[in-house]
Symmetry: C2
Subunit: 192 residues, 2 copies
Amino acid sequence: MPYGDAMNARVRSEERRAEIVRAALEVIAERGYRGASLAAVAERVGLTQQGLLHYFPTKEALLVAVLKERDQWDAVPATQWRVDLLASLVEYNAMRPGIIQTFSALLGESVTEGHPARAYFTERYRQVRESMAAVLRTAYGDRLPNGLTPERTAPLLVAVMDGLQYQWLLDPDSVDMSAAFRDFLALLGEEA
Amino acid sequence: MPYGDAMNARVRSEERRAEIVRAALEVIAERGYRGASLAAVAERVGLTQQGLLHYFPTKEALLVAVLKERDQWDAVPATQWRVDLLASLVEYNAMRPGIIQTFSALLGESVTEGHPARAYFTERYRQVRESMAAVLRTAYGDRLPNGLTPERTAPLLVAVMDGLQYQWLLDPDSVDMSAAFRDFLALLGEEA
DNA sequence: AACGAAACCTACCGCGTTACAGGTAACGGG
DNA sequence: CCCGTTACCTGTAACGCGGTAGGTTTCGTT
Protein backbone atom coordinates (compact mmCIF):
# COMPACT_ATOMS: atom_id res chain seq x y z
CA MET A 1 0.00 0.00 0.00
CA PRO A 2 2.32 2.69 -1.18
CA TYR A 3 -0.28 5.40 -1.29
CA GLY A 4 -1.88 4.39 1.98
CA ASP A 5 1.35 4.65 3.92
CA ALA A 6 2.35 7.83 2.20
CA MET A 7 -0.97 9.19 3.30
CA ASN A 8 -0.30 8.11 6.87
CA ALA A 9 2.90 10.07 6.94
CA ARG A 10 1.20 13.03 5.42
CA VAL A 11 -1.70 12.82 7.80
CA ARG A 12 0.64 12.64 10.78
CA SER A 13 2.45 15.70 9.55
CA GLU A 14 -0.80 17.50 9.01
CA GLU A 15 -1.92 16.58 12.50
CA ARG A 16 1.28 17.95 13.94
CA ARG A 17 0.81 21.19 12.09
CA ALA A 18 -2.74 21.46 13.38
CA GLU A 19 -1.47 20.82 16.87
CA ILE A 20 1.04 23.61 16.50
CA VAL A 21 -1.60 26.00 15.18
CA ARG A 22 -3.77 25.19 18.16
CA ALA A 23 -0.91 25.96 20.51
CA ALA A 24 -0.23 29.17 18.64
CA LEU A 25 -3.84 30.22 19.13
CA GLU A 26 -3.39 29.78 22.85
CA VAL A 27 -0.12 31.65 23.10
CA ILE A 28 -1.39 34.51 20.96
CA ALA A 29 -4.42 34.77 23.22
CA GLU A 30 -2.15 35.10 26.19
CA ARG A 31 0.51 37.40 24.79
CA GLY A 32 -0.63 38.73 21.43
CA TYR A 33 1.22 38.04 18.21
CA ARG A 34 4.18 40.30 18.89
CA GLY A 35 4.45 38.96 22.40
CA ALA A 36 4.10 35.34 21.35
CA SER A 37 7.49 33.68 20.94
CA LEU A 38 8.04 30.67 18.76
CA ALA A 39 9.76 29.03 21.69
CA ALA A 40 6.61 29.34 23.82
CA VAL A 41 4.50 27.75 21.10
CA ALA A 42 7.06 25.03 20.54
CA GLU A 43 7.28 24.17 24.21
CA ARG A 44 3.52 23.69 24.35
CA VAL A 45 3.68 20.93 21.75
CA GLY A 46 6.89 19.41 23.09
CA LEU A 47 9.23 20.78 20.46
CA THR A 48 12.19 23.08 20.42
CA GLN A 49 11.84 26.41 18.69
CA GLN A 50 13.91 25.11 15.78
CA GLY A 51 11.84 22.00 15.58
CA LEU A 52 8.80 24.18 15.12
CA LEU A 53 10.54 26.07 12.33
CA HIS A 54 10.68 22.79 10.49
CA TYR A 55 6.89 22.97 10.10
CA PHE A 56 6.54 26.72 9.71
CA PRO A 57 9.66 28.34 8.29
CA THR A 58 8.92 31.77 9.76
CA LYS A 59 6.82 33.24 12.51
CA GLU A 60 4.67 34.97 9.95
CA ALA A 61 3.99 31.67 8.18
CA LEU A 62 2.61 30.38 11.45
CA LEU A 63 0.37 33.42 11.77
CA VAL A 64 -0.92 32.85 8.25
CA ALA A 65 -1.81 29.32 9.20
CA VAL A 66 -3.64 30.60 12.26
CA LEU A 67 -5.66 33.00 10.14
CA LYS A 68 -6.42 30.28 7.60
CA GLU A 69 -7.66 28.08 10.40
CA ARG A 70 -10.04 30.81 11.41
CA ASP A 71 -11.32 31.14 7.87
CA GLN A 72 -12.18 27.48 7.77
CA TRP A 73 -13.80 27.82 11.16
CA ASP A 74 -16.69 29.97 10.05
CA ALA A 75 -16.92 28.70 6.52
CA VAL A 76 -20.66 28.40 6.97
CA PRO A 77 -22.13 29.78 3.76
CA ALA A 78 -23.42 33.24 4.53
CA THR A 79 -26.63 32.57 2.69
CA GLN A 80 -27.55 29.95 5.25
CA TRP A 81 -27.36 32.35 8.16
CA ARG A 82 -30.30 33.94 9.77
CA VAL A 83 -30.59 36.73 12.25
CA ASP A 84 -31.74 34.55 15.09
CA LEU A 85 -28.68 32.36 14.59
CA LEU A 86 -26.41 35.32 15.29
CA ALA A 87 -27.58 35.33 18.89
CA SER A 88 -26.64 31.66 19.14
CA LEU A 89 -23.25 32.43 17.66
CA VAL A 90 -22.57 35.05 20.30
CA GLU A 91 -23.72 32.68 22.99
CA TYR A 92 -21.44 30.00 21.61
CA ASN A 93 -18.55 32.43 21.56
CA ALA A 94 -19.16 33.30 25.18
CA MET A 95 -18.29 29.72 26.00
CA ARG A 96 -14.96 29.88 24.22
CA PRO A 97 -13.10 32.84 25.65
CA GLY A 98 -9.78 31.61 24.32
CA ILE A 99 -10.66 31.97 20.68
CA ILE A 100 -12.28 35.33 21.21
CA GLN A 101 -9.26 36.57 23.08
CA THR A 102 -6.94 35.41 20.33
CA PHE A 103 -8.69 37.32 17.62
CA SER A 104 -9.52 40.33 19.74
CA ALA A 105 -5.84 40.65 20.52
CA LEU A 106 -4.93 40.17 16.88
CA LEU A 107 -7.52 42.70 15.73
CA GLY A 108 -6.11 45.27 18.13
CA GLU A 109 -2.57 44.67 16.97
CA SER A 110 -3.54 44.65 13.35
CA VAL A 111 -4.30 48.37 13.25
CA THR A 112 -0.62 49.12 13.87
CA GLU A 113 1.73 49.79 11.00
CA GLY A 114 3.02 46.93 8.96
CA HIS A 115 1.26 44.30 11.00
CA PRO A 116 1.15 41.03 9.06
CA ALA A 117 -2.53 40.48 9.87
CA ARG A 118 -3.69 43.91 8.78
CA ALA A 119 -4.59 43.03 5.20
CA TYR A 120 -6.32 39.91 6.41
CA PHE A 121 -8.58 41.77 8.80
CA THR A 122 -9.31 44.56 6.36
CA GLU A 123 -10.50 42.09 3.77
CA ARG A 124 -12.28 39.95 6.30
CA TYR A 125 -14.33 42.78 7.72
CA ARG A 126 -15.34 43.84 4.28
CA GLN A 127 -16.64 40.35 3.64
CA VAL A 128 -18.33 40.08 7.02
CA ARG A 129 -20.12 43.37 6.48
CA GLU A 130 -21.34 42.08 3.14
CA SER A 131 -22.48 38.83 4.68
CA MET A 132 -24.32 40.60 7.43
CA ALA A 133 -25.99 42.94 5.00
CA ALA A 134 -27.17 39.92 3.04
CA VAL A 135 -28.48 38.25 6.17
CA LEU A 136 -30.36 41.37 7.14
CA ARG A 137 -31.79 41.71 3.66
CA THR A 138 -33.16 38.20 3.61
CA ALA A 139 -34.63 38.80 7.03
CA TYR A 140 -36.13 42.23 6.57
CA GLY A 141 -35.95 43.19 2.93
CA ASP A 142 -34.49 46.45 1.67
CA ARG A 143 -35.51 48.37 4.78
CA LEU A 144 -35.26 47.28 8.38
CA PRO A 145 -38.29 47.95 10.57
CA ASN A 146 -36.45 50.98 11.91
CA GLY A 147 -35.95 52.42 8.45
CA LEU A 148 -32.25 51.74 7.90
CA THR A 149 -30.91 49.82 4.93
CA PRO A 150 -29.10 46.52 5.48
CA GLU A 151 -25.87 48.07 4.20
CA ARG A 152 -25.94 50.79 6.81
CA THR A 153 -26.92 48.43 9.58
CA ALA A 154 -24.27 45.81 8.92
CA PRO A 155 -21.31 47.87 10.22
CA LEU A 156 -23.25 48.53 13.41
CA LEU A 157 -23.98 44.86 13.86
CA VAL A 158 -20.34 43.95 13.44
CA ALA A 159 -19.24 46.79 15.70
CA VAL A 160 -21.54 45.69 18.48
CA MET A 161 -20.24 42.14 18.35
CA ASP A 162 -16.61 43.22 18.51
CA GLY A 163 -17.10 45.97 21.02
CA LEU A 164 -19.03 43.73 23.37
CA GLN A 165 -16.27 41.16 23.15
CA TYR A 166 -13.70 43.61 24.45
CA GLN A 167 -15.88 44.72 27.33
CA TRP A 168 -16.66 41.13 28.15
CA LEU A 169 -13.05 39.97 28.01
CA LEU A 170 -11.98 42.76 30.32
CA ASP A 171 -14.74 42.19 32.83
CA PRO A 172 -16.90 39.11 32.23
CA ASP A 173 -18.86 39.60 35.43
CA SER A 174 -19.99 43.10 34.52
CA VAL A 175 -21.01 42.44 30.93
CA ASP A 176 -23.54 39.88 29.80
CA MET A 177 -22.44 39.63 26.22
CA SER A 178 -25.27 37.41 24.99
CA ALA A 179 -28.01 39.40 26.67
CA ALA A 180 -26.60 42.69 25.43
CA PHE A 181 -26.42 41.38 21.88
CA ARG A 182 -29.98 40.17 22.03
CA ASP A 183 -30.96 43.63 23.18
CA PHE A 184 -29.31 45.01 20.09
CA LEU A 185 -31.07 42.56 17.82
CA ALA A 186 -34.34 43.57 19.39
CA LEU A 187 -33.44 47.16 18.61
CA LEU A 188 -33.09 46.23 14.95
CA GLY A 189 -36.35 44.36 14.79
CA GLU A 190 -38.50 47.09 16.22
CA GLU A 191 -40.50 49.42 14.06
CA ALA A 192 -39.80 53.08 13.94
CA MET B 1 12.40 85.39 42.43
CA PRO B 2 13.40 82.12 43.99
CA TYR B 3 10.09 80.46 43.50
CA GLY B 4 9.66 81.84 40.05
CA ASP B 5 12.91 80.38 38.82
CA ALA B 6 12.32 77.13 40.56
CA MET B 7 9.05 77.04 38.74
CA ASN B 8 10.76 77.66 35.45
CA ALA B 9 12.95 74.67 35.90
CA ARG B 10 10.02 72.59 36.97
CA VAL B 11 7.90 73.83 34.11
CA ARG B 12 10.62 73.00 31.63
CA SER B 13 10.89 69.52 33.04
CA GLU B 14 7.15 69.11 32.91
CA GLU B 15 7.11 70.26 29.32
CA ARG B 16 9.76 67.74 28.43
CA ARG B 17 7.77 64.98 30.04
CA ALA B 18 4.69 66.05 28.14
CA GLU B 19 6.69 66.04 24.93
CA ILE B 20 7.86 62.52 25.65
CA VAL B 21 4.33 61.35 26.38
CA ARG B 22 3.20 62.81 23.10
CA ALA B 23 5.93 60.94 21.26
CA ALA B 24 5.00 57.77 23.11
CA LEU B 25 1.41 58.15 21.94
CA GLU B 26 2.66 58.25 18.37
CA VAL B 27 4.96 55.30 18.65
CA ILE B 28 2.35 53.19 20.42
CA ALA B 29 -0.10 54.04 17.65
CA GLU B 30 2.38 52.75 15.11
CA ARG B 31 3.68 49.68 16.88
CA GLY B 32 1.53 48.99 19.93
CA TYR B 33 2.88 49.02 23.45
CA ARG B 34 4.84 45.79 23.23
CA GLY B 35 6.24 46.83 19.89
CA ALA B 36 7.10 50.33 20.99
CA SER B 37 10.72 50.59 22.04
CA LEU B 38 11.97 53.25 24.39
CA ALA B 39 14.68 54.02 21.87
CA ALA B 40 12.09 54.86 19.22
CA VAL B 41 10.27 57.21 21.56
CA ALA B 42 13.53 58.79 22.68
CA GLU B 43 14.71 59.37 19.14
CA ARG B 44 11.51 61.25 18.37
CA VAL B 45 12.24 63.82 21.05
CA GLY B 46 15.97 63.96 20.37
CA LEU B 47 17.10 61.89 23.31
CA THR B 48 18.91 58.65 23.80
CA GLN B 49 17.02 55.76 25.30
CA GLN B 50 18.91 56.25 28.56
CA GLY B 51 18.12 59.94 28.54
CA LEU B 52 14.46 59.08 28.36
CA LEU B 53 14.78 56.77 31.34
CA HIS B 54 15.81 59.82 33.31
CA TYR B 55 12.25 61.09 33.01
CA PHE B 56 10.44 57.78 33.18
CA PRO B 57 12.41 55.15 35.09
CA THR B 58 10.73 52.21 33.37
CA LYS B 59 8.75 51.55 30.24
CA GLU B 60 5.70 50.83 32.32
CA ALA B 61 6.00 54.22 34.05
CA LEU B 62 5.82 55.83 30.63
CA LEU B 63 2.71 53.85 29.81
CA VAL B 64 1.10 54.97 33.05
CA ALA B 65 1.81 58.57 32.10
CA VAL B 66 0.21 57.96 28.71
CA LEU B 67 -2.92 56.57 30.34
CA LYS B 68 -3.05 59.46 32.81
CA GLU B 69 -2.84 61.87 29.93
CA ARG B 70 -5.85 60.22 28.41
CA ASP B 71 -7.77 60.50 31.63
CA GLN B 72 -7.20 64.22 31.72
CA TRP B 73 -8.18 64.40 28.10
CA ASP B 74 -11.81 63.56 28.58
CA ALA B 75 -12.17 64.92 32.08
CA VAL B 76 -15.36 66.61 30.97
CA PRO B 77 -17.80 65.95 33.79
CA ALA B 78 -20.14 63.25 32.66
CA THR B 79 -23.14 65.13 33.91
CA GLN B 80 -22.55 67.81 31.34
CA TRP B 81 -22.73 65.45 28.44
CA ARG B 82 -25.70 65.02 26.25
CA VAL B 83 -26.56 62.44 23.65
CA ASP B 84 -26.27 64.81 20.72
CA LEU B 85 -22.74 65.70 21.84
CA LEU B 86 -21.69 62.09 21.44
CA ALA B 87 -22.11 62.38 17.71
CA SER B 88 -19.82 65.40 17.76
CA LEU B 89 -17.30 63.48 19.80
CA VAL B 90 -17.20 60.70 17.23
CA GLU B 91 -16.87 63.22 14.46
CA TYR B 92 -14.03 64.89 16.30
CA ASN B 93 -12.33 61.55 16.81
CA ALA B 94 -12.57 60.85 13.11
CA MET B 95 -10.28 63.81 12.58
CA ARG B 96 -7.62 62.48 14.92
CA PRO B 97 -6.81 58.97 13.77
CA GLY B 98 -3.57 58.90 15.73
CA ILE B 99 -5.16 59.04 19.13
CA ILE B 100 -7.80 56.52 18.18
CA GLN B 101 -5.19 54.17 16.85
CA THR B 102 -3.14 54.47 20.01
CA PHE B 103 -5.95 53.46 22.29
CA SER B 104 -7.45 50.90 19.96
CA ALA B 105 -4.08 49.19 19.84
CA LEU B 106 -3.73 49.42 23.60
CA LEU B 107 -7.23 48.09 24.16
CA GLY B 108 -6.50 45.10 21.97
CA GLU B 109 -3.27 44.36 23.76
CA SER B 110 -4.81 44.86 27.16
CA VAL B 111 -6.91 41.72 26.97
CA THR B 112 -3.74 39.62 27.01
CA GLU B 113 -2.40 38.21 30.24
CA GLY B 114 -0.54 40.45 32.59
CA HIS B 115 -0.74 43.47 30.36
CA PRO B 116 0.05 46.61 32.35
CA ALA B 117 -2.94 48.47 30.91
CA ARG B 118 -5.48 45.77 31.66
CA ALA B 119 -6.62 47.06 35.03
CA TYR B 120 -6.79 50.55 33.66
CA PHE B 121 -9.11 49.59 30.82
CA THR B 122 -11.28 47.38 32.98
CA GLU B 123 -11.91 50.20 35.42
CA ARG B 124 -12.25 52.77 32.68
CA TYR B 125 -14.91 50.85 30.81
CA ARG B 126 -16.86 50.38 33.97
CA GLN B 127 -16.84 54.14 34.49
CA VAL B 128 -17.64 54.90 30.88
CA ARG B 129 -20.62 52.56 30.97
CA GLU B 130 -21.86 54.34 34.08
CA SER B 131 -21.37 57.71 32.47
CA MET B 132 -23.21 56.68 29.37
CA ALA B 133 -26.07 55.24 31.37
CA ALA B 134 -26.36 58.55 33.19
CA VAL B 135 -26.33 60.47 29.94
CA LEU B 136 -29.04 58.26 28.52
CA ARG B 137 -31.10 58.61 31.67
CA THR B 138 -31.03 62.39 31.60
CA ALA B 139 -31.96 62.27 27.94
CA TYR B 140 -34.71 59.67 28.01
CA GLY B 141 -35.58 58.86 31.60
CA ASP B 142 -35.71 55.31 32.95
CA ARG B 143 -36.79 53.83 29.64
CA LEU B 144 -35.50 54.61 26.20
CA PRO B 145 -38.10 55.05 23.47
CA ASN B 146 -37.34 51.52 22.39
CA GLY B 147 -38.06 50.12 25.82
CA LEU B 148 -34.55 49.36 27.07
CA THR B 149 -33.14 50.73 30.29
CA PRO B 150 -30.15 53.07 30.19
CA GLU B 151 -28.04 50.48 32.00
CA ARG B 152 -28.67 47.89 29.32
CA THR B 153 -28.15 50.34 26.51
CA ALA B 154 -24.86 51.78 27.74
CA PRO B 155 -22.73 48.71 26.90
CA LEU B 156 -24.17 48.71 23.41
CA LEU B 157 -23.36 52.38 22.97
CA VAL B 158 -19.78 51.85 24.04
CA ALA B 159 -19.46 48.73 21.95
CA VAL B 160 -20.61 50.52 18.82
CA MET B 161 -18.12 53.32 19.32
CA ASP B 162 -15.21 50.94 19.78
CA GLY B 163 -16.23 48.50 17.12
CA LEU B 164 -16.71 51.20 14.54
CA GLN B 165 -13.27 52.55 15.34
CA TYR B 166 -11.63 49.27 14.45
CA GLN B 167 -13.51 48.96 11.19
CA TRP B 168 -12.70 52.54 10.38
CA LEU B 169 -9.02 52.26 11.21
CA LEU B 170 -8.69 49.19 9.04
CA ASP B 171 -10.53 50.67 6.08
CA PRO B 172 -11.42 54.37 6.39
CA ASP B 173 -12.82 54.53 2.87
CA SER B 174 -15.32 51.76 3.44
CA VAL B 175 -16.66 52.88 6.80
CA ASP B 176 -18.18 56.25 7.54
CA MET B 177 -17.74 56.18 11.29
CA SER B 178 -19.69 59.33 12.04
CA ALA B 179 -22.63 58.48 9.84
CA ALA B 180 -22.81 54.97 11.20
CA PHE B 181 -22.77 56.22 14.75
CA ARG B 182 -25.55 58.70 14.01
CA ASP B 183 -27.54 55.81 12.58
CA PHE B 184 -27.11 54.03 15.86
CA LEU B 185 -28.20 57.05 17.88
CA ALA B 186 -31.27 57.31 15.69
CA LEU B 187 -31.95 53.68 16.51
CA LEU B 188 -31.93 54.52 20.18
CA GLY B 189 -34.19 57.51 19.82
CA GLU B 190 -36.93 55.78 17.93
CA GLU B 191 -40.01 54.46 19.61
CA ALA B 192 -40.80 50.83 19.70
C1' DA C 1 19.27 -4.47 3.20
C1' DA C 2 19.82 0.19 1.33
C1' DC C 3 18.52 4.53 0.49
C1' DG C 4 16.24 8.99 0.71
C1' DA C 5 13.34 11.96 2.88
C1' DA C 6 11.05 13.59 6.84
C1' DA C 7 11.42 14.97 11.68
C1' DC C 8 13.58 16.53 14.67
C1' DC C 9 17.92 18.32 17.70
C1' DT C 10 22.30 21.12 19.10
C1' DA C 11 24.98 24.99 18.29
C1' DC C 12 25.25 29.46 17.06
C1' DC C 13 24.72 34.24 15.08
C1' DG C 14 23.23 38.89 15.22
C1' DC C 15 20.20 41.93 16.69
C1' DG C 16 17.04 44.47 19.67
C1' DT C 17 15.37 45.07 24.14
C1' DT C 18 15.07 47.09 29.07
C1' DA C 19 17.62 48.54 32.57
C1' DC C 20 21.70 49.76 35.54
C1' DA C 21 26.14 52.39 36.58
C1' DG C 22 28.63 56.04 36.45
C1' DG C 23 30.37 60.16 34.44
C1' DT C 24 29.86 65.14 32.86
C1' DA C 25 28.22 69.54 31.60
C1' DA C 26 24.84 73.16 32.43
C1' DC C 27 22.39 75.83 35.46
C1' DG C 28 19.97 78.00 39.18
C1' DG C 29 20.10 79.27 44.35
C1' DG C 30 22.67 80.76 48.30
C1' DC D 1 31.65 82.25 43.33
C1' DC D 2 30.51 77.72 44.90
C1' DC D 3 27.65 73.91 45.21
C1' DG D 4 23.99 70.81 44.56
C1' DT D 5 20.60 69.34 41.52
C1' DT D 6 18.94 68.55 37.00
C1' DA D 7 19.63 66.78 32.51
C1' DC D 8 21.57 64.37 30.00
C1' DC D 9 25.43 61.02 27.85
C1' DT D 10 28.52 56.62 27.15
C1' DG D 11 29.23 52.04 28.35
C1' DT D 12 27.57 47.75 29.40
C1' DA D 13 25.18 43.93 31.42
C1' DA D 14 21.74 40.41 30.67
C1' DC D 15 18.51 38.47 28.15
C1' DG D 16 15.14 37.01 24.53
C1' DC D 17 14.16 37.00 19.90
C1' DG D 18 13.82 34.98 14.96
C1' DG D 19 16.44 32.56 11.92
C1' DT D 20 20.51 29.67 9.84
C1' DA D 21 23.62 25.62 9.48
C1' DG D 22 24.33 21.26 9.88
C1' DG D 23 24.06 16.96 12.06
C1' DT D 24 21.37 12.65 13.58
C1' DT D 25 17.68 9.61 14.18
C1' DT D 26 13.48 7.58 12.49
C1' DC D 27 10.81 5.62 9.03
C1' DG D 28 8.57 4.40 4.71
C1' DT D 29 9.80 2.82 0.04
C1' DT D 30 12.25 -0.02 -3.11
